[in-house]
């Protein structure tokens, strides 16, 4: 009976317009994002004497100081400082006095006046713009900012400046130690590039690196669109005026809600899995051509670990809120949660914490990923457990409505006596 009900629920979803919107939107979004990924070059082994080996994250103190100062310079120049209190994006603007304090601190670190640096950078960008003649590709290849650091600048001095900046701008800004220490960007050396290549071939087996990037984009999408699928599924009885009839059947609330929920999870997840498989194929093929053994099952491993818990928890929350209120309240609430989670990412790579949307917006970097894998497991495990709790609560709410003929908050249902 459970199997038959599950299949019937799947068929119901497959006939709904919202589901087709979900499918089309997902395919368009993910293909649009993934088509920009440049990865073919990374399958060839770096050779000594290459002009460039690209950029990567670095633990080198000098590099961390450079990145930190560049960020401070950039935010001071626009007087727009990004902070993320309670996970939500908030822009901070400083007054003249506060700006002056930070400009002086920068001057201490660079030995140059802030205004002079601003002029030089403006001139530099104008030059780049003219040379690139509007070409976005060339423009983006240009080095970011020219912020020369004092040769004798110590890490302690730098830390004091960051601390001052954090004090002025506020907590959950870039200038927190936990944030800036993870964002040192540096040009890779041959040895670094070789290590990255080894990670890509041996640890990631190529497809693993690609699937993390796929999951990064898909995770944003899957924190949003299943909300609509879930809300639509829960309101279907009410819209069809069949709620009372269905409640009068002998099926248990647990079986009905459980099958509906599982059907929604499966119907949302299967297209994701298929997309992941299709997108992984060229990588597996190219890796084979380059003599690298790719992981053909990476799409399953990463989709199940990274994306399934997101779908589960979003649908669970959508089910609970919709069953409890019989309204579309779940849509604004869960959209706020999803966008808050996306905007709260202080970095686009790692720092998973307990965020709903976990980001890894880079191709490769397995070493750093392995360091954060424990937190990723904890994050996903927590959301899976939360999803189960939400579904159990939905069953309880459904049974209460079924027996009491009323809403969770006690409002009487229309009585046509």
């Amino acid at each position: 009976m459970i199997g038959a009900l599950f299949l019937k629920e799947c068929r119901k979803i497959a006939k709904s317009l919202v589901y087709y919107v979900y499918l089309v939107a997902f395919v368009l979004f993910i293909t649009g994002q993934m088509s920009d990924v440049e990865w073919v070059d990374q399958l060839s082994e770096p050779q000594p004497g290459q002009e460039s080996y690209g950029y990567g994250y670095s633990n080198d103190e000098r590099m961390i100081m450079q990145s930190g100062m560049e960020t401070l310079f950039q935010e001071l120049l626009s007087n727009r400082f990004a902070t993320y209190p309670f996970g939500f994006y908030k822009e901070v603007t400083l007054n003249e006095e506060e700006q002056e304090v930070l400009k002086r601190a920068m001057q201490q670190c660079t030995g140059m006046e802030f205004e002079q640096m601003a002029e030089e950078n403006t001139a530099y960008w104008m030059e780049i713009w003219m040379e690139a003649e509007g070409s976005a590709a060339e423009f983006s290849e240009a080095e970011m900012w020219h912020v020369p650091l004092r040769e004798d600048l110590t890490y302690e001095e730098f830390e004091q400046v960051m601390e001052k900046a954090c004090e002025i701008v506020g907590s959950r800004s870039y200038y927190e130690k936990s944030s800036y220490e993870k964002r040192g960007i540096a040009a890779l050396t041959y040895e670094d590039a070789l290590e990255h290549y080894r990670e890509l071939c041996e640890d990631d087996k190529v497809s693993g690196a690609q699937m993390r990037l796929f999951c990064d984009y898909a995770c944003i999408f899957l924190a949003v669109l299943p909300i609509f699928v879930g809300v639509s599924a829960c309101l279907k009885d009410k819209r069809a005026k069949a709620a009372e009839l269905i409640r009068s059947r002998s099926v248990s609330g647990a079986a009905l809600i459980g099958c509906r929920y599982l059907a929604n999870v499966v119907m949302c997840f299967v297209p994701v899995l298929l997309c992941a498989l299709l997108m992984q194929m060229p990588y597996v093929y190219a890796a084979g051509q380059a003599g690298i053994e790719a992981d053909a099952l990476a799409f399953v491993k990463y989709s199940c670990l990274w994306l399934l818990p997101v779908i589960m928890v979003v649908l669970g929350a959508a089910f609970l809120l919709t069953e409890a209120t019989e309204t579309i309240l779940a849509i604004p609430v869960l959209l706020a949660w999803a966008f808050g989670s996306v905007l709260s990412a202080a970095t686009l790579t790692g720092n998973f914490g307990w965020k709903l949307v976990t980001r890894w917006n880079t191709f490769g970097s397995y070493g750093r990923y392995a360091e954060e894998l424990g937190q990723l497991y904890r994050n996903k495990g927590m959301y899976m457990a939360l999803a189960v709790i939400l579904v159990l609560l939905t069953v309880a709410v459904y049974e209460k409505k079924r027996r009491k003929g009323e809403m969770l908050y006690g409002k009487l249902r229309k009585n046509n006596s």
């Binding site: 009372e244 009839l245 269905i246 009068s248 079924r402 003929g405 009585n415 006596s417």
Partner: protein, 312 residues
């Protein structure tokens, strides 16, 4: 001897709905006030004006509403055992509807799954039920494209597909054309042969044509319980017809219960309920259930009776 008597008692209980002192409150509003009813096998009619509490009573029996007080047993099972009650009950709500994009077959099959019917049995029963309600030829028609009559027939098919012992049907003929109504009533009578069918309606003709036993509810109370004959007895020798001038109509309506007016130019033939001969030229005529119902409602004065109908 005692054992056999006990056995018989259990058997009677198992084919009855027993309602004792049933109360249902919605906040301060009392929708059902100490209702006592025993409903046996066959068609049982529940009659009453809009807002009398019929739907509330039906929803309590269908386990969709909890009772505030009293005792309700369906075939010996207390209504609190909702899962058991749902297994033995078929419910056709007032506004039966299903997912619009499902076909008649799919909708019935889906509801059969929700009643726990296994696949092999569903394959046999779904076409059988569709045939019974004369929908087999239209099994692929979508619910949203169905007429009111077709929907009601699908509704009755879903109510009986799991072979329930009790069928609760809430105002099933409202909005149907006369032909559909007759067809639907006949279908209900057929089904009621081996079951308890509780039919709620405010259309007196439905009760007259189908039920032997009835109860009349008004403002949450049972104001009559008995057979159709006993209801008719209330107006025995109290129904008259007379031909009057159109000018006299208003005066007549003030003085008597006028249950029918047939206009004929400047005169009209009226149907009057009165304790004694209302007019010298009036003739006694046989009473119908509508007369009896109007008389009952008027005599208890529990609600303002709209005196008189009008026949074109």
């Amino acid at each position: 001897m005692l054992f056999k008597e006990k056995e018989r008692e259990i058997h009677v209980m198992e084919t009855q709905i027993q309602i004792k002192g049933l109360c249902k409150n919605f906040g301060k509003k009392q929708a059902l006030k100490s209702v006592d009813l025993t409903i046996g096998q066959g068609m049982f009619g529940l009659l009453g004006p809009n807002g009398a509490g019929k739907t509330t009573l039906m929803r309590v029996l269908a386990t969709l509403l909890p009772k505030s007080a009293g005792e309700v047993r369906v075939c010996g099972v207390p209504v609190e055992q909702a899962a058991e009650i749902r297994k033995m009950t078929g419910y056709l709500p007032q506004d039966f509807s299903m997912y619009g994009n499902m076909s008649a077959y799919e909708a019935l099959d889906y509801l059969a799954v929700l009643s726990g019917i296994p696949k092999a049995e569903r394959r046999k029963k779904v076409p059988e039920m569709l045939e019974k309600v004369n929908l087999l030829d239209q099994k692929n028609i979508r619910v949203k494209a169905m007429s009111g009559g077709m929907k009601r027939r699908l509704g009755i098919a879903q109510a009986i597909i799991h072979d329930p012992r009790v069928i609760i049907v809430d105002e099933p003929t409202a909005g149907l054309d006369p032909e559909e109504r007759v067809r639907f009533r006949n279908l209900l009578c057929e089904i009621a042969r081996e079951r308890i069918v509780l039919l709620s309606t405010h259309i007196v003709g439905d009760i007259e044509a189908t039920c032997e036993e009835i109860a009349v509810l008004n403002q949450g109370e049972v104001v009559f319980r008995g057979t159709v004959e006993s209801l008719l007895k209330l107006v025995e020798s109290k129904v008259y017809s007379a031909e009057v001038s159109a000018r006299e109509l208003d005066g007549l309506k003030e003085r008597f219960i006028v249950t029918g007016i047939l206009n004929k130019g400047s005169t009209a033939t009226v149907r009057i309920i009165a304790e004694s001969m209302p007019l010298a030229e009036a003739k006694s005529c046989s009473a119908d259930v509508e007369d009896a119902y109007m008389f009952l409602m008027h005599s208890i004065s529990a609600m303002p009776v709209q005196k008189g109908g009008e026949q074109a």
